[in-house]
Amino acid sequence: MTTLEEMAASVPDGALLALPPDNSLPSVALAKALIRRGAKGLRLLGVPVSGFATDLLIGAGCVAEVQTSAVSLGEAGFAPRFSAAVRAGTLKVVDATCPAIHTMLQAAEKGVPFMPLRGLIGSDILANRPDWVVMDSPFGDGERIVALPALSPDVAAFHGVMADSLGNVWVGRRRECATLAHSSRRVLVTVERVMEGNFLEDERLAPGTISGTYIEAVAVAERGAHPVALLDEYGFDANHVAAYARAARTEAGFNEWLAEHVFTQRAAA
């Protein structure tokens, strides 16, 4: 077990940091702690898209690059700090499409140098990805298909429901977090709570568990996904996100929001 602030300190500037989006257990708590520590030059990976936490990190100046299939606040609309950074040209955007990000992570999970994916040919996403290669099917059937290279994030971070005494983490059906854990070099997880026992010995819990084999550190962060929903633990706080979206239309409004919602939390903690 570690603390949230120690966990944030362990993420080096410039790391390729993979974050799930708002429907998929993001650790908003860790994103805020990274802002408090003044992280710089992060390269974010949306798994497979990006949401609230990514917009916060971009607005706070922590991010050099984002590779993603979309950045959005869902019903609250476009991500304001992402949009502003693209307009200003201060953010490198590497566009992808959702199944391509899953596939690149699955290639790393499987220990193969690449995996093929259909679709993509004729899209300007492909035209702007020199790391994606069009190949002929090795079966000589004339099909042309895209080969996507394996992608191993330096660090993956997400928010699970609970950890056990052995460092196993329960994420339920959000199995993209498992693929992400398998494919990443380091995995940092915040959770609501820690339970006694071993989830892997419980046939009811094991299917939604990620083995501690893959997890470097766990920190407790209660309501650590807020304002995003966490399975059946708590719901999406639409008012909070809508208020953020309004405030973050301007840099000044964003900075006020940060002062209130990110920097005062440390004083309170």
Partner: protein, 246 residues
Amino acid sequence: MSHKPEELLAVTLARLIRARPTRHIAVGAASPIPAAACWLVSKGGSPVRLSLLHKRSGNPFTEGTRELFDLTGQGRIDLFFLGGGQIDGQANLNLIGTGEWPGREVRFPGSFGSAFMYFMAGRTILFREEHSSRVLVDRVAHISAPGVSEPGVFRRGHAQALVTGRCVFGFDPARGRFTLETLHPGETLENIRAETGFDFDVAPSLGETPAPTAEELALLRGPVCDEMMETYPEFCSRVFERKAAA
């Protein structure tokens, strides 16, 4: 019976769904109108499986977010809905933005799964309420997903139609062109031409988009609205005039 424009769009989409065999539809777009159309088909008695990705509670998948794409790759999704910041006359979709790559002028959220789903779903219905020459352009600034593909590229499906707030276009992938099929009430061919940035053909049978029947409206305002209240309370309140229980 009088109806809202959204109700006309929902029944129009529902007719397009029923026009071809459809076992399983996935709805990924944030718009509630395609979801209403799917529920209308389902509540109207057609045995169709719906995977509504924006449903708030529950989630049809247990493999995480990749399952929708795998399911579509397997050929199990007969119909998907897509929109776009820009759509052009060859049914190319732009969800990236305008100006220099990657959208230095206006940046849209991004392509999501469109660059895969558009190829791999059995077919796609394009839906965009705004019908203007800003959205319907001659040539998109950037292609998130192409409307047609070259030989040698596996492609299971194409656009079946483009439904806007003004009309319904059919799409012929062999010719890579839209054909104006029906006009919503109050629209004229001249008006559509003026508001559309791309060239299109006109169906010899060009007529008015059929209005919702009383039965369709009863389904929409009753059982369809019941299903949609949890996920789209604002839409249900505005269109169906139904308030959520306190």
